[in-house]
């Protein structure tokens, strides 16, 4: 078939028809070709149907193995379901929240530790091994017809990504097949991954940045190497050289690491031709250092948020002509800046960044009010994403990011909500009050608590509530938090008290 893919798994099947055998996806010492991946996901789809999964059912997958996650997501697409890939550190309270929120038909985890929790909510539970059928389970159940009434439409949901927001618990951004495929194609048009590329991705597939690398390499016919956290740390250069990487999908922490390492060796990953960056701005120092150590390397900075996946992308090395910008809108989309009354602002003026186009996702799962607010419908009809991010555009339409006006902040390139972190600290037994101060300049996010337990214990216990990367690395304990005239916590004074070491411990 030569028609454009309309459902997510069509993307895999087209790519598998073109090249079934080349190892396409690798992780640790495992690798899989596209033909194998297509077969595995078909087998899992039969398995899921046999267990009763139907169109629009949610399937939650928490695995540290990206090969398993990718097989599962295409299987879910085949049955017309909706997948949500969770980071390994989503446990206990954070996991219960997701299960309660999306009411999955099936939960898949690497270990059976979450089985009771999943089945208590009425979900079917499988370990990753059972899903892949390596445990000799009923994986090869007879296949009911995949066509007909249970085949999804391109306007049906396929993916839910839990993201932090101004709410105390994460909420899921829902994407349809059409929205995912449009975004992937529009990004690929800008990044132009090639069929001879090997993309090294140091982020897990549970982050949308990692997830979309899968779609991009399928479109390009390229190969993808997922790196573990350990491989992507100090051994990053070695990992790049050994995998023959030509593209590095980076966030600032990874790009900084690459710059530091590359400046200290003659053995450079010379095949590396492209570094993409998202998550937060790349420092000029890092870019200059990379250009001097790796002269063949092009840099493309990008900006986006899960709600529209990607908003803008810089042309390669566009930062030389438009320093500080995060690029131009994707083809077929529009990005503009609005003032307090929703009016469009002229170039140079700072306001809220708004995105229109087929990359704007469907909305938040079961959050009608929040969806109406963020995914605002102009004239009651036409969706436009009010990002909550602020910035301005120049005369050429290049976008410049200027931060947020709410409690969302970025640490190490990951979106974190102060409200969510404070709520998680509150849920820890022994904590009576919690305030998060977002990072400022070089100083990281700070947590201040009134608590009956040691401050280190607070941080340890928070791991049962939220993902580890969201937990501030520094906690200070107080007997009282400073307040202003309105009885609200005085954050400025609190910051001064913390830096002066005036906490109880």
């Amino acid at each position: 078939m030569n028609t454009e893919p309309r459902l997510l798994h069509d993307l895999l099947d087209r790519a598998a028809e073109r090249d079934p055998h080349t190892p396409f996806l690798s992780f640790r010492d495992q690798a899989t070709g596209l033909g194998e991946l297509a077969d595995t996901s078909t087998r899992i789809a039969h398995h899921l149907r046999a267990r009763g999964v139907r169109r629009a059912d949610r399937v939650v997958v928490r695995t540290g193995n990206p090969l398993a996650a990718v097989s599962a997501l295409f299987a879910v697409s085949r049955v017309g379901g909706v997948f949500s890939l969770l980071h390994e550190s989503v446990r206990d309270g954070a996991l219960s929240h997701v299960l309660k929120d999306c009411e999955p038909a099936v939960v898949v985890c690497d270990t059976d530790e979450a089985e009771d929790e999943a089945t208590a909510g009425g979900a079917d539970f499988l370990t990753t091994d059972e899903l892949l059928g390596t445990d000799g389970g009923p994986a090869r159940a007879p296949a009911p017809a995949g066509s007909g009434h249970d085949r999804a439409l391109e306007v049906d949901p396929v993916c839910m990504i839990y993201t932090s927001g101004t709410t105390s618990r994460p909420k899921a951004v829902v994407s349809t097949h059409q929205q995912v495929l449009f975004s992937a194609r529009a990004i690929q048009r800008r990044l132009s991954y090639r069929s001879d590329d090997t993309v090294y991705c140091p982020l897990p597939v549970s982050f949308d940045y990692g997830l979309y690398q899968v779609y991009l390499v399928l479109l390009a016919g390229a190969r993808l190497r997922f790196g573990t956290a350990a491989e992507s740390g100090p051994p990053l250069l070695r990992s790049l050289v050994e995998s023959g990487a030509t593209v590095l999908a980076g966030v600032p922490a990874v790009s900084d690491r690459l710059a530091w390492l590359a400046a200290r060796t003659e053995h450079r990953p010379t095949s590396l031709r492209l570094l993409t960056n998202t998550g937060a701005a790349l420092s000029e120092k890092t870019v200059a250092s990379l250009r001097s150590s790796l002269p063949g390397l092009r840099v493309q900075v990008m900006y986006g948020l899960t709600e529209c996946k990607r908003a803008t992308i810089m042309p390669p090395d566009g930062d030389l002509d438009h320093p500080g910008s995060c690029g131009l809108p994707l083809d077929g989309t529009e990005v503009f800046v609005t003032g307090p009354d929703g009016e469009r602002l002229p170039p140079g003026e700072t306001g809220q960044i708004v995105v229109r186009g087929p990359n704007v996702m469907a909305g938040y799962w079961r959050r009608e009010e929040l969806t109406a607010e963020r995914f605002h419908r102009r004239d009651g009809l036409f969706p436009e994403l009010r990002t909550g991010d602020y910035g301005w555009q120049d005369e050429d339409g290049y976008l410049y990011f200027d931060g947020r006006r709410d409690d969302i902040y970025k640490e190490r390139g990951f979106r974190v909500s102060a409200t969510e972190v404070e709520a998680a600290a509150h849920r820890v037994d022994g904590v009576t009050s919690a305030i998060v101060l977002p990072p400022e300049g070089r100083s990281p996010a700070q947590l201040a608590v009134i608590a009956a337990i040691p401050r280190e214990e607070v941080l340890v216990r928070m791991r049962a509530e939220i993902e580890e990367y969201k937990i501030p690395r520094v906690c200070t304990r107080f007997d009282d938090l400073p307040t202003n005239g309105n009885g609200k916590v005085d954050r400025k004074r609190l910051a001064r008290l913390i830096s002066a070491g005036r906490g109880r411990d």
Partner: protein
């Protein structure tokens, strides 16, 4: 350089990277699983050691095995700081 000196320097570097006091480490303590270092803080540890004891890393020699535990990293630093005559 003695093993003790390296251990001290490592504890200081870890304290800075993790922004909390790290002392009296057992050699078997695992860096990722027990101390909750991530790939970024791991590199900060190396940067700290470069400053404090003049550790010169050859990025092409950095293998994941060296970053498993306090002992493996100490061994790695000792080998890297030993005079080149082998």
């Amino acid at each position: 350089m003695q093993r003790n000196d390296v251990t001290k320097a490592l504890e200081t570097a870890l304290s800075e990277a993790l922004e909390r006091e790290v002392a009296d480490l057992d050699g078997g303590v695992r860096l990722f699983d027990d101390l909750h270092l991530d790939s970024t803080s791991m590199l900060e540890v190396l940067m700290g050691l470069e400053e404090s004891i003049g550790l010169e890393v050859a990025p092409e020699d950095l293998e994941i095995e060296a970053f498993e535990s306090v002992d493996t990293l100490t061994d790695f630093v000792l080998a890297a700081t030993r005079p080149a005559a082998v």
